[in-house]
Amino acid sequence: MKYTSQMVAKPYFIFALILLAGEILFGLLMAVQYLYGDFLFPLIPFNVLRMVHTNLLIVLLLFGFMGATYYLIPEETETELWSPKLAIITFWVFLVAGVATILGYLFVPYAELTELTFNNLLPTMGREFLEQPLPTKVGIVLVVLSYLLNVIMTIVKGRKTVITTVLITGLLGLAVFFLFAFYVPDNLIMDKFFWWFTVHLWVEATWELILGAILAFVLIKVTGVDREHIDKWLYLIIAMTMVSGILGTGHHFFYMGAPEYWLWVGSIASAVEPLPFFLMILFAYTMTRERKIQHDNKIALTWAKGTAVMGFLGAGVWGFFHTLAPVNMFTHGTQLTAAHGHLSFYGAYIMIVFTMVSYAMPILRGRPHGNSQKAQKVELTSFWMMNIGMIGLTLALSIAGIVQILDQRVGTELIGFMESQESLAGIFMVRAGFGVLVLAGLLTYFYSFFVKEEAK
């Protein structure tokens, strides 16, 4: 660790991982309720489980990105963080707000929660992924502002690199597009249109910049490849992201009340969306091949290559499956969307957090050369368990989606939604099984932190 202020990243990483355990746990509970409707009902109805599951994901990724930023910014700018104290205060504020929100979801009926949290003053709740009460949304804005202030002030006083520029662009985009969460027109279609400005432009534009910057940072560190070379790749990746991702928003506007031209614009632009992810694979593997150093922390590089490959599969390939308008006519609103959502969030975003944690955490714990070989072996096992688990459950959800389409949308002998879902019980069972594997993988990952160092 070169700068003492990098230490503030540690609580962010730890809490992100704890939230991830919670996210997966709630995912499993949902998987069981999918099969046995009486499970946990009426104690925790499905919509509450899902809200906890998806909101934990969003919050844990924000914690992960913040931790990653606080770790890499001092090294990139070659100066201490502007205010480590502010970073720690922000951490506790966000933690308390996050925990309070989740407890609110679990213990207060949602309709009552809307009344208690001033939703009638400015209605923003009850929309997918943006279910947070108004005070939480305002809290997120304050947390992000304090985070941005800290990062910008550090960059201003220190060295400016391509990585810091790309990162700050991504973070500013994240902040700006979240503001659409406060705009809720009475017209459902208008509401949906601008809802995507937060949801799509986060995950398929601004977050990809953050992902690219973190990936580039870790690759510089573990391969020792020349910065000029890394910078070129990073620019190329984010160029493709911007060109495809912004107009790619159009793939959400095919069948929700927006004009016809989106059928063309969305299809063409989003057909290019796999490209930046494919470039990330080339990037990670080329840098590995051309590496100047053999870093002892091998598992960090494994995660870096892993996130490129899995991000490409989840976001690129699984996205492309249903991104062309004529196909989307049949796939829109089916389990195929869920399949794509699971693998892309895991591959691109959860895994980049793992990459950073895997690289930075040993250093923060006083092990500059990475964890012991034994600990890395355990971590590698968890890497495969989680990857296989996620691919397995994605395949199961994909099959479920295809069957659902054949049952409800193709041919003349159609059956209804509930009947179709009942016929899918077997495949939902398989999905739950792979979910258990993911949880076991995460627990194995946790265990790798406690493997004793070998005596040297």
Partner: protein, 148 residues
């Protein structure tokens, strides 16, 4: 392939391409915002429809259902429930909604459960009006079949 591209070329593609995409996106957004009121029959958006949307949100209906293809996949699509359960007749649909909402949760063992939301008769009517309005939005021929 990447050998022939220099860092400054890549940088220019990023700034140039990004700005170009953003400008087209803004122009199309502007046009879409002007077209949505017509495509969604905003003139028929009565007070009841707006109240129905608020109820839809306050009870987190999208946490289980999809509407216009977006939401959760635990329960049926509701954009065309007006046609599916009401035969596209307002009276039939509203009567159906009253009895359906009152009957929740159904006591079929291990069927996926819909909670009892304790809505008043007027509230259920507003929710019905909201769903009827939604069913008439021009979503480019979606959903493909009555089963949604």
């Amino acid at each position: 392939m990447t050998e022939r591209i220099t860092k400054s070329m890549a940088k220019n593609i990023y700034y140039g391409g990004g700005t170009f995409a953003l400008l087209i996106f803004l122009a199309l957004t502007f046009d879409t915002v002007h077209q949505i009121p017509k495509r969604s029959n905003q003139q028929n958006m009565t007070e009841n429809v707006v109240a129905g949307k608020k109820l839809w949100e306050d009870n987190n209906c999208v946490g289980c259902h999809t509407i216009v293809g977006e939401g959760a996949y635990y329960a049926p699509e509701l954009m065309n429930v007006f046609q599916r359960r009401g035969g596209a007749d307002e009276g039939t649909f509203k009567a159906y909604m009253q009895s359906w909402m009152a009957a929740q949760p159904l006591d079929t063992p291990n069927r996926r459960k819909m909670p009892q939301f304790n809505l008043s008769k007027e509230e259920v009517d507003s929710l019905s009006d909201f769903l009827i309005w939604t069913s008439k939005v021009n979503a480019n021929e979606w959903p493909p079949t009555i089963e949604g």
